[in-house]
């Protein structure tokens, strides 16, 4: 029986347009848009513009792009958009770790203003005082939220902020003449894959700390991992389990005593705004995902932003430029003595910064605290209800409350029925839901990770729970319907073998024509 009485799942059906590939649309000669005509006076002086180009540098044949009229291009992409289940439409609590909250529409209006879109990043400083004010104040806000001393808004994502932390750790040890010796970064297996992968790009050896029985990163394992080779620690808290690590200050203390730096991946900050900060846990650096906690939309996977803050002592390593205010004017400061240089072009993902600024301004201190309190309330309500569904469990920390998300397991259901997380994910689609498993490796067997944020109403959370309960019930009563799902999606069961076969994989249409249609060889 469903733990939420009288709550029905939706008789959903996703739009299915059976849309062709764009190369199959249109016909020769159709035009999607026309360009300005060249002025006669210019043509009279210059000619066709090609005479100056060496012959072998002039493209011989026009590119084989589709030729489609404007409305037909529009229609094609609108159909594809309808075949995408965005967070504005579904109850997107099934993408745990990603904080799928409401992205307010007013902030989109700001972001499409010509006052932002038509700014060139090399314009004279006196013509961009507005956007620099936004940058400067967003930095100040994030200092308050984290307790740290200076932010850079340059990193274009959480992963790029992690890379930036790794670069700063490297620069710090360089500065102290200890870089060759310190070649290890410690992280935890429940932190984002990039906490391990990004520093590895810069040559760091990675040590992953696994959880103990309580689900916390094992303190003994940390002790063993720390040595004079330790460069730093990159860690989330709460981790993707939603369990807050109360020993985090011991972690940072031990790393500091060993001479390392501590970087805080705050991808999971949504439950602790104004409640717990990087400063009190003694972190040297932290970053926030402006597209998660601070409401900028996820855009099918970016553009995004990772706002990175540091303690005073590390400001000298930040990427350039920093934005300063001299009392009358906002300006760029390139005078950062030991800067790591740059991680992204110009100053960062400007629209994401603008949206985060506006979101903070719309909530203020009490609003941000309420965001966290309700996100945590929603999560613990969801936890209570999910555990009432047959076949679920929430490994670790029994009887404890969680912060903003929980990594659950369907393992019991799989043992009883053979139905896996992947099967359930596919069946949830039929009710208009997304349910994500977790990052690899699957430490929790048959995992699923839910994060309800502050944005969803109780009724919506109940509807999601009813969806999970319905599928769990079907796993017993009608496993075939789950195994063969989805039934009401855009596509039917995919045949995926070719994705790992070099003779068959087709990453572009031209490759598909060659490999599958014997065309264009």
């Amino acid at each position: 029986m469903s733990p939420v009485k009288n709550m029905k799942v939706r008789n959903f059906h996703q739009a299915k347009w059976d849309e062709p590939i764009i190369f199959e649309l249109g016909s020769k000669g159709e035009r999607g848009i026309l360009l300005p005509e060249i002025e006669n006076e210019i043509e009279a002086v210059i000619g066709d513009g090609f005479s100056k180009i060496p012959k072998h540098m002039i493209r011989e044949q026009v590119p084989c792009l589709p030729e489609i009229s404007q409305m037909q291009v529009l229609k094609h992409y609108l159909r594809l958009s309808q075949e995408t289940l965005g967070a504005d439409l579904n109850v997107d609590i099934g993408q745990g770790t990603c904080t799928m909250k409401y992205s307010p529409k007013i902030n989109e209006i700001f972001a499409i203003s010509p006052k932002i879109t038509e700014l060139h990043p090399s314009q004279p400083i006196c013509t961009v005082q507005g956007i620099l004010e936004i940058f400067y104040k967003t930095d100040l806000f994030l200092r308050e939220i984290s307790g740290l001393d200076q932010f850079t808004l340059q990193p274009a994502s959480g992963s790029q902020a992690i890379l930036t932390m790794s670069s700063i750790i490297k620069a710090f040890h360089d500065y102290n003449g200890e870089n060759t010796q310190r070649d290890e970064i410690i992280t935890t297996i429940f932190s984002h894959p990039s906490d391990a992968a990004a520093p590895a790009v810069q040559g760091y050896k990675i040590i992953d700390i696994y959880p103990n029985q309580e689900g916390l990163p094992d303190l003994e394992a940390l002790k063993e991992a720390i040595s004079d080779r330790t460069a730093g620690l990159l860690i989330t808290n709460p981790e993707d389990t939603g369990i807050y690590n109360p020993y985090i200050k011991e972690f940072t203390k031990m790393i500091h005593e060993a001479g390392g730096l501590c970087g805080y991946d705050q991808a999971n900050a949504n439950g602790v705004l104004g409640i717990a900060r990087a400063k009190e846990a003694d972190f040297d650096m932290c970053f926030f995902n402006l597209h998660k906690t601070f409401s900028s939309p996820h855009g099918c996977g970016g553009p995004s932003a990772g706002a990175l803050g540091v303690k005073k002592e590390l400001i000298k390593f930040l990427p350039v430029p920093l934005v300063r205010y001299n009392g009358s004017e906002y300006l760029f400061d390139y005078n950062v003595s030991h800067t790591i240089g740059k991680v992204r072009s110009y100053y960062g993902v400007v629209p994401a910064v603008l949206k985060a600024y506006s979101w903070i301004m719309s909530l203020g201190r009490e609003g941000l605290e309420e965001v966290s309190r309700i996100a945590v309330l929603n999560n613990n309500y969801l936890l209570k209800k999910v555990l009432e569904i047959n076949g679920t469990s929430a490994p670790y920390a029994k009887g404890h409350h969680r912060i903003e998300q929980v990594r659950y397991s369907w393992n019991k259901l799989t043992e009883e029925t053979g139905i896996t997380t992947e099967d359930i994910t596919n069946r949830m689609v039929d009710f208009g839901f997304h349910m994500w498993s977790s990052h690899h490796p699957f430490i929790v067997p048959q995992p699923f990770t839910l994060e309800p944020t502050e944005s969803y109403s109780k009724a919506e959370i109940d509807e999601y729970i009813a969806g999970l309960a319905k599928v769990a019930e079907e796993a017993h009563s009608n496993p075939e319907i789950v195994k063969n799902a989805p039934h009401r999606s855009v596509v039917h069961k995919l045949i995926t073998d070719s994705l790992d076969d070099p003779d068959k994989w087709a990453i572009t249409w031209r490759s598909y024509l060659k490999k599958w249609k014997n065309d264009r060889i």
């Binding site: 590939i21 589709p66 995408t84 790029q160 109360p246 099918c300 110009y346 629209p351 490759s511």
Partner: protein
């Protein structure tokens, strides 16, 4: 919430006291504070975040933010000749329409079943880029050109099992900083000289510098200084003779008229798609592409998502999925190729829309217009006393260097005076390329009318005479 007066924030439905009460009851608590008992007291923040009072009404928020933004002067309000990595091109209305669609704007990481359209659109983006570049593999976009070049270089080192990279010395200095940060300390970067008479690569220096330690040779075409490098075949031959890979950074908007790098031997091509339908957004509109031929040992070195087309159980139905997902850090953490995460997918979808709208004719006409307009600007500028166009014997695309050394004023002074005439002059190169001293990089695209260019000429004449 208890502020001056009680209210329920429109973004937080479960703040309603009755609902809150019901949910707390269900959990078995009397106060939300109880949910935080696992955070020890000494880790709790005891102070109060010093943030401005919130603007609770949407109207007040709009007044406030628009008030700040109104302090900006845009490239619509002035005429801009700025380029150098971010370019002003016309953005067709449909590009904005599509990337503002709720579904694309707010989707994230769904599976191919519920996010079929997202996979489909990004597959088409890669496919159209593939046609423009004449290459069979194109990634889901990364952050920007700097990241794309960094990864292209890393891929070359893994494919060749070598660690040295030759980079042309006219690369964008900011891009070089990104690459240096990303690739240090494992890779060794050496610069390859430019012949400052022609603006093209000094082939003799390339032959002297390249060795059996070289993993790849990276150059840009058109170069950062706007020159069309017409020795591509020679560069790639020298590179291949040394069993290294030829990596070319390019402006996709040039490829309606210019030979794509794959035709002169490039193994990896990268660049930025901002010009393909993204507004400049003060540098916020960037996304990077990487393209290669479809060889297993190359494809397996991509860190990016690669979306492939596949069949479904229904005959004739197209499906999509991740090609060789096991390469990625999502699958293998630090044992995957570099790292992957959220980047710039929405701009990829938009660039697809742009290429579909322009089509083959549009891309060719666009390139031609840019050639004509920039050549007109060069010609007019060179008539002004004391002004020279650098590398005048070499052909250019979109950008060119104006040498002001023989005029009485510095570039910074000239630009300040131009701003007063509502003109943003070229990018001052005196710091980036001290050897060029008082020079500026000008950018002319299809958005510039003859009258805009004439206004620049008139303005400069007034300032310099």
């Amino acid at each position: 919430m208890n502020t001056k007066k009680s209210f329920i924030h429109p973004y937080i439905p479960n703040s309603v006291p009755e609902i809150k009460e019901k949910m707390m009851q269900e959990i078995g608590i009397n106060d939300i504070e109880e949910l935080y008992t696992d955070i020890p007291d000494f880790l709790r923040f005891k102070g109060s975040m010093d943030l401005p009072d919130p603007l609770l009404s949407e109207y007040d928020l709009k007044r406030h933010v628009n008030g700040i933004l109104s302090k900006n002067t845009t490239c619509q309000e002035s005429i801009s000749f700025l380029g150098g990595g971010c370019w002003q091109h016309y953005v067709p209305a449909i590009c904005d329409e599509i990337n503002q669609r709720s579904e694309f704007l707010t989707a994230y990481a769904g599976e191919p079943y519920e996010d079929h359209g997202r996979f489909h659109a990004l597959f088409e983006y890669a496919s159209m880029m593939g046609e423009l570049l004449e290459m069979d593999v194109v990634n889901v976009p990364t952050y920007d050109w700097g990241q794309a070049a960094s990864t292209a270089i890393q891929m070359a080192t893994r494919i060749t099992d070598r660690t040295e990279i030759l980079v042309s010395d006219t690369i964008s200095p900011d891009r070089l900083l990104i690459i240096q940060n990303y690739c240090s300390p494992l890779l060794k970067m050496k610069t390859m000289k430019t012949d400052y008479e022609t603006g093209k690569i000094d082939l003799g220096d390339l032959e002297d510098s390249i060795s059996n330690k070289t993993a790849g040779v990276y150059f840009e075409n058109p170069s950062y200084l706007g020159c069309i490098e017409d020795q591509g075949s020679k560069i790639s031959s020298i590179t291949h003779e040394n069993d290294a890979l030829c990596i070319v950074g390019t402006d996709p908007l040039s490829l309606g008229v210019l030979t794509p790098p794959s035709n002169y031997g490039a193994d990896i091509v990268c660049g930025d798609i901002q010009g393909l339908g993204m507004h400049m957004q003060y540098g916020g509109g960037h996304a990077g592409f990487i393209a290669t031929h479809d060889e297993e040992k190359i494809v397996m070195e991509y860190p990016s998502r690669l979306f492939g087309i596949i069949p479904t159980v229904v005959k004739g139905e197209y499906g999509f999925g991740d090609v060789t997902y096991d390469r990625t850090s999502f699958s293998k953490r630090e044992k995957g190729k570099e790292f992957i995460g959220t980047a710039a997918a929405l701009w990829g979808i938009t660039a697809g829309v742009y290429l579909a709208l322009l089509g083959p004719q549009g891309m060719q006409e666009l390139g031609k217009l840019i050639l004509q307009k920039s050549q007109y600007a060069m010609k007019r500028l060179s008539t002004i006393d004391g002004i020279n166009i650098l590398f005048n014997q070499t052909s250019h695309f979109k950008e060119f260097v104006v040498d002001f050394n023989k005029t009485p004023k510095k570039v910074s002074e000239i630009n300040e005076l131009l701003v007063k005439k509502k003109i943003f002059g070229g990018k001052d190169l005196s710091k980036e390329f001290p050897n060029l001293r008082e020079s500026a990089l000008f950018c002319v695209t299809e958005v510039h009318k003859k009258e805009d260019i004439d206004k620049l000429i008139l303005g400069l004449e007034e300032i310099l005479n």
